[in-house]
Symmetry: D2
Subunit: 258 residues, 4 copies
């Protein structure tokens, strides 16, 4: 929307490529039952109840004519249990972005639960990486990664193995009816991407959430507080990655009988 001006004209310069992406990835093991409360029924928490928080500084984005934006995504390792098939991947709990354009296309074409936040460009200070996210002036997240080193051969192999058959981001595309009543759309999606890594380091990371009130963030406080309440049983190694990403067209997951 608006649709009456015709489809958005695409330049021959547009593509799915994000040509300059820098990411900080922090993950932790949490309580399986508590995490499971936030997964709709065709999804099940994966064998390991891992929550992943990804900050990405996206630059040189072709479809945005070379402009960029920052995002903070939170996902849960999960299996989609379809009627006849199962898909293992990461279920999108929420994705904050600091630019409205990809929020709209992500919500509407892919069903990704994107919302807005002011996300600072990451800082790097003597090897310590940091970013934070706020909305309406109230900070809700600090993200730190430090003590970076090159990954070992074993880590590279383990990472490659872990991605095999698991690198499927998934989401729940749910639109209410006009005025908020009923449902207009209710389906599940997967939105794969192709990633080329030029640099990767392993280190220690941490995410620190701040509980907020309705008065402080009336549209997102319940999301933030739910995430802040997830217990951290164990921090996993954090990762910093540089490279590029090509968004592939999203697909609808097979319909399930709930």
């Amino acid at each position: 929307m608006p649709a009456h001006f015709g489809p958005r004209p695409f330049s021959t310069k547009a593509s799915g490529w994000y040509r300059d992406v820098t990411s900080m990835v922090v993950s932790f093991v949490t309580d399986r039952e508590q995490l499971g409360r936030y997964l709709p029924s065709p999804f099940r928490v994966a064998e390991e109840a891992v929550v992943t928080i990804t900050y990405a500084c996206n630059r040189q984005v072709d479809w945005l004519a070379g402009n960029g934006y920052n995002l903070v995504a939170v996902s849960a390792a999960a299996d989609f249990i379809g009627e006849q098939e199962t898909l293992s991947g990461d279920y999108a709990l929420v994705m904050w972005e600091n630019l409205t354009d990809p929020i709209l296309t992500g919500r509407e074409l892919q069903g990704i639960p994107k919302v807005y936040a002011d996300i600072q460009d990451h800082t790097v200070l003597h090897g310590d990486w940091h970013t934070s996210a706020s909305h309406f002036g109230h900070k809700f997240l600090d993200l730190d990664v430090s003590n970076l080193r090159d990954p070992s051969e074993d880590e590279i192999a383990a990472d490659a193995a872990a991605r095999l058959g698991r690198d499927n981001p998934m989401a729940w595309r749910l639109y209410p009816g006009v005025g908020g009543f009923g449902e207009s759309i209710n389906e599940y999606t997967t939105f794969p991407s192709e990633n080329r890594i030029t640099d990767a380091w392993v280190g220690e990371g941490e995410a620190r959430w701040q509980h907020l009130s309705w008065e402080q963030n009336p549209t997102q406080f319940h999301i933030i507080n739910a995430l802040a309440d997830l217990p951290v049983l164990e921090w996993r190694p954090a990762v910093v990655v540089k490279g590029s990403t090509n968004l592939v067209v999203a697909e609808r997951l097979p319909r399930v009988i709930n």
Copy 2:
């Protein structure tokens, strides 16, 4: 979305009231045929082919916990021709806002074609009112109102008469399918509001558009250029209004057989 955290908890302090709204309203008569190209079939350009550009500085918005935002809306005087009934009002061509939260709810609950822009707080300088809108650093609109005076009795009466049976904002709620293919939702809506005016002045106004390229605004240039190309046959008196607005729940317009 995200839906898995449950419905957004509403505070008892939330309501539909925008308690402090300042608006500049500029309108002009344009070419009927050219304007008609942007109205989907159940809509017809009204007897007078009037395009209205409304800037609003919304403050003290209850559902945003007292926060606010600015908007620039462009609409066409139009009649909705249903199978059995007709509704006269203003068809939403596009609405720019400088806050993502109301963009999402407006698109998803009401079908309003909202997109993002940096919209300056209006300036007032010795009776001259001004604002402008940009995206990705490129300005596309300047809006001016000046020579304000109190409205005459006749103008007040004419305005009241004009609103009778015409104060219906309408929109086309069209969502594509996953990945952008096909359609998930295709319907028409109306989203009435209750307005309380505390101050109103009449003056002269003007909107100046800048044509932009895909490189300058890859997501909106076709919208901006279409509006910039509408001929201005005659500027109507401009209006500055202060007051408050209560958003009423949007409704679906009766289905039509296209």
Copy 3:
């Protein structure tokens, strides 16, 4: 600076008037000795060791061509003890503003210790007023005023009396030499203004500071922490004021022999 393009040309529309100013004023009694540490020698903490925190939403500023900005000022009730004369007023401890232009003129023409912060437009929600200030993504101040009522006759009279001979904002204009060595300028100033109040209410207010680290705010953390450490012995009644302000030309205070 730059000076080589000649003096900034003034429009006939420019003046010292800020035509639309909304302020929240919160003040408290603190420890006299601790506050005194931050006053240079010709200043002495006033009989009552009162610190005042003023948020102002400045709009329709003539010299900015009708644009506006927000500020948060912190000042100490103080007496300037000159060789031959004494001036009672408020010594400027720090002033945050969210626009660079008045920061530069305020520092350079008046010696006001202005620095930058992201200062939210104030929210008003069912009678509760709020704003906050952040820099580099880290919030350092929340300011609240609530339970507003009309001032009593006695309060109006007491306020007028208190202003008599005390309404003198003062500052220390200190510039280092090139590279930061030595001093280029070292003097004291006063920068009076003319205020026209259209509305005023009295209520309860509170300022909540957050201690920050160098990593969080490398240019201001020492200021913020000093203010956060001032003990609050008693909150004074808070005030919300609407009106306009005319900046009068700043003056140098009589030289003192230190």
Copy 4:
């Protein structure tokens, strides 16, 4: 300022290093006489009347705790004619930055004529580099570089030769007295830096200025219009550079008898 909280405490992590700097440099030959109008008397336009426009995307700035900012600097090739010595370099005509903190230190410690602008992060799209600068919502500069290639051996040698004895940025540190009357400081400075280049390309560049009115940019329109009026006799090859920069302490140039 403020000075009463003591000197800004420096972390051991602070230094003069800007560890991640990406620059677009565009220069042109202009009319010698017209350019000379903007140089104060001890400066003389260099043999070639070259104006250089530099955009820099500064990241990982140590003294800002790893934060960064963008700048657009305009300088004139010039010779400082002292009583006993001459210094060849680039005289700072104006420097826009999108962060107030370095604007204050640059003006006050070095005398650089820094002012604020919204400066877009540069975009890169299929080899075309672009940025733009605005203030108060009104764009005043577009900067483009394209057709980049590796520099030739000759170009590298010529560049090194040109820098020999010429790499001296210089400025006029002029502060008025309190209230704007008279002068408090009037001197000339040089502010050298150490640059490490990791990547460099040569291409074609262009700067496009927009004339603005006082109403559009009341604090800078005279600067912008003066620069927009400089005739472009010939564009020089443009350069894109990546690397790091270490700010060295600024020095005062030898006093001259005007």
